[in-house]
Amino acid sequence: MPEVFANKRTKSTPPAKQPVLPDNPATEMVDAVTKLVQSGMQRSVWHSLTALPKGVNFEAQNDDENVVLFMRAHPVTNLPWMFAAIVILFIPMIWTVYPLLTGLSIALRMAITTAWYFGLAFFIFQKVVSWFYNVYIVSDERVIDVDFYGLLYKNVKTAPISRLEDVSYTQKGILSSFFDYGNVVVETASEQRSDSGGEGSGMFIFENVPSPNDVVKVISELMEKEEEEHGIKR
């Protein structure tokens, strides 16, 4: 039938609404990641657990490698230093009663107070930066643990998914149960030299990450997928 006779009024039914999945169609996602994205998980890098984050890359990332999970410690773990910062904030307000300081010139007292608040601001900045960059990345090819302690220590550990042997998690304490965060322990077949790896040098510990059960599910599925693809026996 010529096209002219076709009923142009017929409207095609709109496709069912699909969740927004990654921009890169090459990503073959595991079910657990799909569920995380479908459950409305944020994909902003400011969140402590992000599935398929936007615009996140890491050193030595392959062209066809995709970041599946991007994690850092739960924000609640920042409470101790925040409390310390609040205490430090109020100290200059009470030190005017301290007799030794009142004996100093006004210019010097002002300089001390300014330096105090500057130091406090820098302390807060440093803590936020450390929290922000202490990240754990799970890509479709490997797991990466990036540790920055203070200003002078950096430790980056990586292990391919094919070398992972076991993954588990622990939740200890009231806060971790209430806010649902815990340590995810990933054991690898490789023996790595590390200062911070704890008892097992080939062990990755993702400290205080949110929803550890979801993280374990994703890593387990990636391991299964790798096993199917390459016939790895564990």
Binding site: W46, V56, N57, A107, A115, Y133, V146, K154
Partner: protein, 77 residues
């Protein structure tokens, strides 16, 4: 106000010592902020995130603020 002279200590000497300590402290703080600039750049190289540029800018702001503050304290106090 405490009377340093009554304690047998010159008030000027106390101010001088405290001022000197403050200056040394600020110079050290400036050096630490410079290290923070370098470290933030390294962190951004290891893990590239869109917000990384804000931290780099923040570190530079701290460094230059520390420089200015230190210079002011050294010259004026």
């Amino acid at each position: 106000m405490i009377d340093f002279n009554a304690l047998g200590i010159s008030g000027d000497h106390v101010s001088f010592v405290v001022g000197l300590m403050l200056k040394v402290l600020l110079i050290m703080l400036t050096l630490i902020t410079l290290i923070a600039v370098r470290q933030t750049t390294l962190m951004d190289r290891v893990v590239k995130v869109p917000a990384g540029k804000y931290f780099k800018t923040g570190a530079w702001v701290f460094f230059w603020s520390a420089m200015i503050l230190t210079a002011m304290v050294v010259v004026l106090v």
